[in-house]
């Protein structure tokens, strides 16, 4: 890479010693808190210039968490609007997705909104559940250039839609409550719906807090006509909303523009005046607006009211050129706003700069990828996890050969006994010959890191085309439909391009 060089041992260990010294002084801090101590823009610039790009990469990566960790948000959980629930139902504040509706056993609820694809549409409209117990055996031909009617892989063991997405059945004596209604299924049974959307659980979720079936992150979970977690409304004023990102639940305006806080402000008091206002626009409230939950209204000047979140005045960054941007946090003492932070990656992962932004790397700063896959059947089941047919993945990662796959896209091996400490990151034993789950005692089984219960990978490559240096991201969008349908996508924490920041869901391609 131009302008970069390999760090000498003194530099590497010097940095480590510096980090250790700070930790010693300050006690045991979380990744975010440590980052908040280290990172300031000037420091980053000095480090970049004086040390190397590599150090800058590490620092910038930490900086992402520093921005996010402002205001001690690391310990907060997202507040939501309480509403009457049917008996036994509950809300679980999950680690990545925030508050999600769940059943009495803690199984997260999902819904499946209809979406137009190239050659037809799939999914459901409100009030009309279609996910049944018949097993789809052929492709639907939604996505060209391949025709419909092709027999799906592993069709004899393929689950039905309702087996993969168990409907939330309602008992005969169930009564509607508020937005909770009961809809008729085609098989004659009753099913719960919320806001008209028929509700399902996922066969991938095993315990309370699991949200492995689907996500509101962009490029995560199943693709094409996605399912989504069903959530209560976040307790934010009407002009705000909250988006799921890799960093946490990001507070944005209703039109998805990011908002920020400033360290120089007091509690419910803005000190951003004069020239500051050229770069930062206070998010004003209506004259009649009232404080609600963690949101307060204060009078910044007589007659002019501004919103504050957890006591911190809220602003828009005039320099943002895209929605859900993190750009404003590049300015010292300014931070994006999160209702809650996402869990940290396990120890040993790194964050690094690539040409598309900040991306998760392994210990050697090689880009970490997830595999995404949705099949072309009427029920749109996912094929992105080890319980699904692996033929799709083997085709793109090794030309159908599992041995080539594991060389080109090696699993990220987890140390024996490694724990992530959260439900988003974990480990799993995999049989690399089949790509499916294995028991620990199976010969050749690999203990691999998982993100949302799916293995993660690096890209060693083929014929010299692979990830070699930290900035490489050469398997990004590797596969069908730019990797969105059957391929590899990097775990991107900050996407610098338009409308893709923070992994936010933007539906541009089907």
């Amino acid at each position: 890479m131009n302008g970069s060089r390999t760090l000498g041992n003194d530099e590497v260990f010097g940095y480590a010693r510096h980090a250790a010294a700070i930790t010693k002084v300050t006690g045991r801090f979380s990744f975010q808190q440590r980052a908040a101590i280290f990172v300031r823009r000037r420091v980053m610039r000095i480090l970049r210039n004086v040390l190397s790009i590599s150090i800058g990469t590490i620092v910038a990566a930490i900086g992402v968490y520093a921005y996010a960790a402002s205001g001690s948000t690391a310990s907060f959980k997202e507040d939501y609007i309480r509403e009457p629930l049917p008996p036994g139902f509950q809300v679980i504040v999950t680690e990545l997705e925030g508050p999600i509706f769940a059943d009495a056993q803690g199984k997260s609820f999902y819904y499946w909104p209809k979406k137009q694809l190239r050659n037809g549409d799939a999914g459901e409209v409100q009030g009309k559940p279609t996910c049944g117990f018949d097993v789809a055996r052929e492709t639907a031909g939604f996505l060209s250039p391949y025709p419909p009617g092709i027999e799906l892989p592993e069709v004899d063991t393929r689950p039905s839609c309702a087996a993969a997405w168990p409907p939330v059945f309602a008992s005969d004596d169930a009564k509607p409550v508020g937005k909770w209604t009961i809809v008729d299924r085609l098989d004659g049974r009753k099913q719960w719906a919320y806001d008209g959307w028929s509700l399902y659980t996922s066969f991938l979720d095993k315990k309370p807090g699991d949200v492995y079936g689907a996500s509101q992150l962009f490029h995560h979970g199943e693709t094409n006509v996605q399912r989504y977690p069903m959530r209560p409304a976040p307790n934010v004023p009407p002009q705000f909303s909250v988006q799921t990102t890799m960093l946490g639940r990001l507070v944005v305006l209703h039109d998805d523009w990011s908002v920020y806080t400033f360290d120089g402000d007091g509690r419910n008091k803005s000190n951003c005046e004069g020239a500051c206002l050229d770069g930062w626009a206070p998010v004003l409230s209506a004259a009649s607006a009232r404080s609600v939950g963690e949101w307060s209204v204060f009078e910044r000047t007589p007659g002019v009211k501004q919103w504050a979140f957890r006591g911190k005045p809220i602003y828009r960054h005039m320099g943002d050129s895209k929605i859900a941007a993190l750009d404003g946090s590049d300015t010292p003492r300014w931070h994006n706003v999160y209702t809650q932070m996402a869990p940290e990656p396990p120890q040993g992962f790194t964050m690094k700069k690539t040409l598309m932004g900040l991306v998760l790397g392994d210990a050697n700063q090689k880009t970490v990828y997830q595999y995404v896959c949705g099949d072309d059947a009427i029920d749109q089941l996912a094929c992105d996890h080890p319980d699904a047919p692996q033929a799709y993945r083997f085709a793109v990662c090794g030309g159908g050969d599992p041995d080539k796959c594991i060389k080109a896209f090696p699993y990220l091996i987890a140390p024996v006994g490694a724990k992530s400490g959260n439900q988003v990151w974990g480990t799993m034993y995999i049989d690399p010959k089949t790509g499916k789950r294995a028991t620990a005692d199976k010969p050749g089984a690999l203990n691999v890191w998982t993100f949302r219960a799916r293995p993660v990978y690096t890209f060693a490559g083929y014929k010299g085309y692979g990830d070699r240096k930290p900035s490489d991201i050469n398997a990004q969008s590797w596969g069908e439909f730019n990797g969105e349908r059957n391929g590899y996508i990097a775990l991107v924490y900050r996407d610098i391009f338009e409308n893709f920041d923070a992994g936010i869901q933007v539906d541009l391609i089907n």
């Binding site: 250039p145 690539t354 590797w478 391009f497």
Partner: protein, 387 residues
């Protein structure tokens, strides 16, 4: 023009710079004349159009003859699938059909092709003489220069997606125009004249900003582009060149040139060319011409397929696996040290650039921060004074 420029000439240049700058401010261009030094002896250009050069023969009326494709245009993935698995045949299974085809696309081999692949042929092609030889496989440029090395033209010349007016060309152009952080910048420094200068410095960057359109639908010279030093280090290349009769040439060729080629961005793809030579006609407002060298075969193939997967690339009938075989068959440079296989294929890109003011980080208008307090101002003044 020699570096030992007289003081008088420098003085005149400086005057012209000032007046040129003034004219530029009024007229939207950086300076007025080409035979004087640009302001600050530097000038920048931003790519507005970039595509692999494919010569398409036309008749006297300007109508395409397709003479370079005597065997016709190639079939694409959709047509090849229909050939292999005709509708109405036996029941198809994913593993043997669709998945197998995708496996061939993502893990192609140079083995013999089961389909006829139509290479472009004929005597004429765009490009440059890369090896200083005139060989039987070489072309002659449309303006009569012999020895043109452009084997990539043979590989892609009869694929609809790479021909002018095709969906891929139009889509890529449109996305290039309508997004930011995806464009190549060229900055020339130590420039004494845009007509003749035997020693200029060339630096490439990725630009961060949108293009500036003029009222007629073209691109307005005199805009600005911030360079991407934060995320775009891979696109920064340094080289030397000279300007001969208004044409910038690299001396020597750049070892490598990596440039961004993206669509909706999330594919984050680039192209890599080795031994890159510039042949760009410069004016104060534009730079137009070719960049030629050896396209890295794997990067070329992967870049397109990561950007355009089978569905989209079927519109312009790219037979990906067949194309890969052709690329490997026609590759003519940069042999692998172990296998001897050529890893590069001679190629040229057709480039149109518009002059811009290139903003380096230290020259950018900084983000406005809160006004410092009087004490802070005093401290800062004190520090400055102490220096």
């Amino acid at each position: 023009m020699k570096k030992e420029q007289s003081a008088l000439v420098r003085s005149l240049s400086a005057s012209c710079m000032v007046s040129g700058l003034a004219l530029g401010l009024l007229g939207g261009t950086a300076f007025g004349a080409a035979d004087v030094a640009p302001p600050g002896r530097s000038i920048g250009y931003v790519v507005t159009n970039i595509q692999w050069a494919v010569y398409q023969a036309k008749d006297a009326q300007g109508k395409e003859t397709k003479a370079e494709c005597p065997n016709g245009i190639n079939d694409g993935a959709r047509e090849q699938f229909a050939t292999l698995f005709p509708p109405g045949g036996k029941k198809l299974k994913m593993a043997e059909t669709q998945i197998a085809r995708e496996a061939e696309i993502w893990w192609p081999t140079p083995a013999a092709d089961q389909f006829d692949f139509h290479e472009a042929s004929g005597p004429t092609s765009y490009g440059l003489d890369l090896d200083g030889k005139v060989k039987s496989t070489d072309f002659t440029s449309p303006d009569g220069k012999p020895g043109v090395d452009n084997q990539l033209f043979r590989a892609i010349g009869c694929i609809l997606n790479h021909r002018e007016g095709s969906s891929l060309v139009l889509f890529e152009r449109n996305f290039h125009w309508s997004n930011n952080i995806n464009r190549l910048l060229i900055e020339l420094t130590d420039v004494d004249s845009l007509v003749n200068d035997d020693d200029v410095t060339i630096t490439t960057y990725r630009g961060r900003d949108m293009l500036v359109w003029d009222a007629a639908g073209g691109f307005q010279a005199g805009g600005s582009q911030r360079i991407d030093t934060e995320w775009g280090q891979d696109f920064i290349h340094h080289g030397k060149g000279k300007i001969v009769n208004g044409v910038l040439v690299t001396t020597p060729p750049l070892d490598e040139l990596v440039w961004p080629q993206q669509v909706v961005h999330n594919e984050a793809t680039t192209y890599l060319m080795r031994g890159a030579r510039f042949d760009l006609k410069l004016t104060p407002e534009k730079a137009v011409g070719f960049i030629a060298g050896y396209a890295d075969v794997e990067s070329f193939y992967r870049s397109i397929n990561r950007r355009w997967s089978t569905h989209q690339i079927s519109y312009g009938k790219t037979p990906s696996a067949s194309l890969y075989k052709a690329l490997r068959r026609l590759a003519d440079g940069y042999p692998d040290q172990e296998t001897g296989e050529n890893t590069g294929i001679s190629a040229a890109i057709d480039v149109k650039m518009t002059q811009v003011r290139i903003l380096h980080p230290e020259k950018e208008i900084s983000v406005i921060e809160p006004a410092p307090s009087a004490k802070q101002t005093a401290e800062s003044t004190s520090n400055a004074t102490a220096k």
